[in-house]
Amino acid sequence: MRHQYPQLVILLGAMTVLGSCSREDRILRQPPSADETLNTIQISGLNPGANLIPTPPSSNMYQESAYAVAEGQKLFEAYNCVGCHAHGGGGIGPPLMDRNWIYGSEPGNIFATIMQGRPNGMPSFRNRIPEYQAWEIAAYVRSMAGLLPKGVSPNRTDQMSIKPAESSTPEQTPTGITGVPEQPK
C-alpha cells in the first residue's frame, strides 16, 4: 500500500519528534542552603546501618544540566581550584582525571570533600561556597573524569584550552599508580 500524502506523513512525523525536544531549564534562583548536612557525612565506604553519603537536593538537578556543569566549570576557575588541581591534571593537589579518588568520586563525596576539607591541604569551603555552587563544582569535576553524559559536559572553556574538552573525555581508569590496585583486565 502506498501513502497518498507522503508529505503529510513526514510533517506529522517531524512534529511528533520535535514535540519531544524541550529546552533545558536554567535554575537561576537556587534554593537556599539546607542547614549543615555535613555532620552526617562519611568518608569511608564501610559503615554500619544506612548509607549516609549526602545526595544532591534533586539527584539529577546539577549533573544533568549543561548550564549547571558550565557554571561549575567557571567556578572551578574563579575559586582557584586550578591553583592546586590545575585543569584536572593535579599539581599541589591530586589529579581529578580518573574515577578512582582517595575520598570518592560520587557527587556526595566530592561535595563533602569541598565542604569539609581534607588532610594535607584541601581547605574547607564551608560557609564560603554556597551549597548549590559546591554541587555544580562537583558535577563539573566529575565531567573532567568523563563520568557525565557527553551532552552535559562542557565543550569549551573561556581560556586557552590545554586539553580536549570535557565532552570528548572518555571515562578514565587509573593505571600504574603506586598504591592503587590495577584494574582487572
Binding site: L28, R29, Q30, A78, N80, N127, R128, P130, Y132, D158
Partner: protein, 340 residues
C-alpha cells in the same frame, strides 16, 4: 556649528530619548569626538532630507503630469528620438548626482573618522577597562603596583585631558559605548586594544554595553564622571587608600561576617583578607553612586537587597544569593557603607 545644523527637527530628535538626554544621547555631545560624529550625523541628515524632498517633488510632478495627459485619448506609441534622448540625459544626470552625493558622504565619513581617531597626547590618563559578565572593571595602571587604582563601573577622568583606554574582556565580547563621548568600541576576550577619548564638559555621563553579552546585557551600564583636575586627583588619592577601619561595633561585626562568608570568595577589600578578583573591588564601594553596574542606587536598602538575593534583581548574574541572618545582613550593609 552643530547647533546651526540642528534647527527644529534636530531639537525634536535630540530630545526623543527616555533617559536624561544630557547623560546618554549621541546628539548631546560633551566631547570633541562626539561633536565630530554629531556634525557628520547632521550633515548626512540634511543631505538625505534634501534628497527626500526632491524625490517627493519629482513624484508629485510626474503624478500630476500623467493625470493631465490621461484625460486625452491615449497617444499612439511611436519612437520619439527626442524624448528618448531627454530621458537618457535625465537618468544619467540623476545617476551622476547620486554617485556624487554618496561620494561626498563617503569623504565626510572618512574625514570624521580621521578626526575622531586623531586625538592623541604625550601625557594622557591611562585607563584599563575589562569587560565582565555583567560589569566593568576599571583600573588606572601605574608602574608602581601600590599606585594602581581599581574600581568598578564608575570612571573618573579629569576634564579636558586626553584619556587612553586599554580594553580587554574576561569572558565574552562586550562593547563600551558612551554616546555623549565617542563611538562604540568592542572589548574582545584575550585581545588587548586601545582607543582615546577626551571630555571637555564637566558632568556625569552614562554608558552601556552595546554588544549582546548574555542574560544581563541590558543591565550592564557604567558612568563617566568628568571633573576638574583637582577633584580627580583627590578622588584618585582617596581610592589609593586601604579600606577604612570600621569604628562602630556594628561595622566591625559586618566586616567579620563579610570575611567569614561567601563574599570573600569573589571580592577584594584592600586592607583585609578579602582579595579575590572575580567580582568588583569593594574597597571604596561607598564612594560610588550606583551598584550592580548602574542598576541600583547605592543605598542601604538596595545594598541589602542585592546582597541577599541578587538573582531576583538581575537573574543570571554571577553573584550568588547570601541568606544571611537579619542582624548579620544589617552589619554587612553598615560596614559596606563605611567604605568611602
Amino acid at each position: 556649528m552643530n547647533a546651526a545644523l540642528r534647527l527644529v527637527p534636530g531639537h525634536l530628535l535630540a530630545q526623543a530619548m527616555p533617559l536624561d538626554p544630557g547623560r546618554h544621547h549621541m546628539l548631546h555631545a560633551a566631547a570633541p569626538q562626539a561633536r565630530n560624529i554629531e556634525w557628520l550625523y547632521w550633515v548626512i541628515f540634511w543631505i538625505l532630507f534634501a534628497v527626500f524632498v526632491l524625490m517627493i517633488a519629482a513624484f508629485v510632478r510626474a503624478g500630476a503630469k500623467t493625470h493631465v495627459e490621461a484625460r486625452h485619448p491615449l497617444p499612439v506609441l511611436e519612437k520619439d528620438d527626442e524624448a528618448e534622448r531627454r530621458a537618457g540625459w535625465g537618468v544619467g544626470a540623476a545617476l551622476g548626482i547620486t554617485v556624487i552625493t554618496l561620494f561626498v558622504i563617503l569623504v565626510l565619513s572618512v574625514i570624521t573618522g580621521k578626526r575622531v581617531e586623531g586625538l592623541t597626547s604625550k601625557n594622557p590618563v591611562t585607563i584599563q577597562i575589562t569587560g565582565h559578565q555583567w560589569w566593568w572593571e576599571i583600573t588606572y595602571p601605574n608602574s608602581q603596583a601600590d599606585q594602581t587604582v581599581t574600581t568598578a563601573n564608575e570612571i573618573h577622568i579629569p576634564v579636558g585631558t586626553p584619556v587612553v583606554v586599554l580594553t580587554n574582556s574576561k569572558d565574552v565580547i562586550h562593547s563600551f559605548w558612551a554616546p555623549n563621548i565617542t563611538g562604540k568600541r568592542d572589548l574582545l576576550p584575550g585581545y588587548s586594544s586601545a582607543f582615546w577619548f577626551e571630555i571637555d564638559k564637566p558632568g556625569t555621563y552614562h554608558g552601556q554595553c552595546a554588544e549582546f553579552c548574555g542574560l544581563q546585557h541590558a543591565h550592564m551600564g557604567f558612568s563617566i564622571i568628568a571633573e576638574s583636575v583637582g577633584d580627580f586627583q583627590a578622588w584618585q588619592q582617596q581610592q589609593l587608600k586601604n579600606a577604612a577601619e570600621p569604628s562602630t561595633s556594628e561595622a566591625i561585626r559586618g566586616r567579620e561576617v563579610l570575611l567569614t562568608h561567601a563574599c570573600l570568595m569573589c571580592h577584594t577589600i584592600r586592607g583585609t583578607d578579602a582579595g579575590s578578583r572575580v567580582g568588583p573591588d569593594l574597597t571604596h564601594v561607598a564612594s560610588r553612586n550606583m551598584i550592580a553596574a548602574e542598576t541600583l542606587p547605592n543605598t542601604a536598602g538596595a545594598l541589602a537587597g542585592w546582597v541577599v538575593d541578587p538573582q531576583r534583581i538581575k537573574p543570571g548574574t554571577q553573584m550568588s544569593p547570601n541568606p544571611l541572618a537579619p542582624d548579620d545582613l544589617q552589619a554587612v550593609v553598615a560596614y559596606l557603607q563605611t567604605l568611602h
